[in-house]
């Protein structure tokens, strides 16, 4: 039982590190792309308007299904382990 607790705790920590880094990465690349697109559309634009537009874009991205799909980082390994347990452990 203790081994199961240890697996859940260690696995949870590892997956959280993966989730946070991947989340930071996709938001950062999205922000970069929004900045590039805004710069292309508004040469010599106002920096304040640029920041507001980019922040809006990032906020919209955070609400999108693609970003929320990152929860699969937790769901998929848990589902995989459960599937293996059911297959090897059921009578």
């Amino acid at each position: 039982m203790l081994a199961l607790v240890r697996l859940v705790v260690v696995g949870g920590i590892v997956l959280t590190v993966v989730y946070l880094s991947v989340s930071w990465f996709v938001i950062s690349t999205r922000r970069e792309r929004l900045e590039r697109e805004w710069d292309a559309a508004n040469p010599d634009g106002d920096p304040v308007a640029r920041k507001a537009a980019v922040d809006d874009g990032v906020r919209a991205f955070r609400a999108s299904a693609a970003y929320r799909a990152l929860w699969l980082i937790y769901v998929l390994p848990a589902a995989l382990v459960t599937a293996v347990l059911v297959v090897t452990g059921s009578n």
């Binding site: 240890r6 697996l7 930071w24 990465f25 950062s28 690349t29 970069e32 293996v84 452990g89």
Partner: protein, 226 residues
């Protein structure tokens, strides 16, 4: 310094490959000749190469280990090229349970029953594909752990290592993702993280100079001036 870096990297690569070779599943074609249980007294040398007592059982210094004795088809190149020659191979059969490596194997007793029911007897050869991980080493008294046994009719059966294909592809994906993330981090990280070597060296130099100046001032202040 360069030589040190290259050697360090080589050691890390070799260790990583050894770890993969130890932990990833491989398929052997074999004939099971007998199964047995031996008592084992682990030492600090070989304990790390064994899993644990059966899931939900207490762990003691000494316990019984299930073994599967076989005649195995020898092979080249990690089992990809099978030879006609045969050799002895002994597998252990242990629960990996919730611990390393993550096979989540809880069915050792059942596997031992499968091994027994597919045993070869003289005059009746029965071939099986044994999926296993781990190493056999006679000096350490360690055995690869069997995780699956599948009866086959043909000893020349072709086994495709699907799991390894997907796992190594995933590993490569992870490597490139990590590299992309690191580059993005270097490019975009701001504030505290934005350090460049010159600035750091300069700051350390300033600090050292400041400390030296203070020390001198302090020494000066201690000097008795009539």
């Amino acid at each position: 310094m360069r030589a040190v870096w290259i050697s360090l990297r080589a050691v890390i690569v070799v260790l990583a490959l050894a770890l993969l070779h130890y932990a990833l599943p491989q398929h052997d074609v074999a004939r099971i000749t007998s199964t047995e249980v031996i008592r084992m007294d682990f030492s600090s040398v070989n304990r790390v190469f064994y899993a644990q007592s059966d899931s939900a059982s207490a762990e003691h210094e000494t316990r019984d280990v299930r073994l599967i004795n076989t005649q195995r088809r020898k092979s080249f190149l990690l089992g990809f090229i099978r030879r006609d020659a045969e050799g002895v191979m002994v597998y252990r059969n242990e629960d990996t349970g919730w611990i390393w490596p993550p096979y989540f194997k809880f069915d050792s007793s059942d596997l031992q029953a499968v091994a027994s029911s597919n045993m070869s007897v003289p005059g009746l050869e029965r071939w099986v594909v044994i999926t296993h991980y781990g190493w056999r080493n006679r000096f350490l008294s360690i055995y690869p752990n069997a995780v699956g046994i599948r009866p086959v009719n043909d000893p020349d059966v072709v086994t495709v290592p699907w799991f390894n294909i997907f796992f190594l592809a995933f590993l490569a994906f992870g490597y490139f993702l990590l590299r992309a993330m690191w580059r993005q981090f270097r490019r975009r990280a701001t504030g505290l993280f934005r350090l460049n070597a010159g600035a750091v060296a300069g700051r350390v130099g300033d600090w050292a100079g400041l400390a030296r100046g203070r020390l001198l001032t302090w020494l000066e202040s201690r000097r008795w001036n009539p």
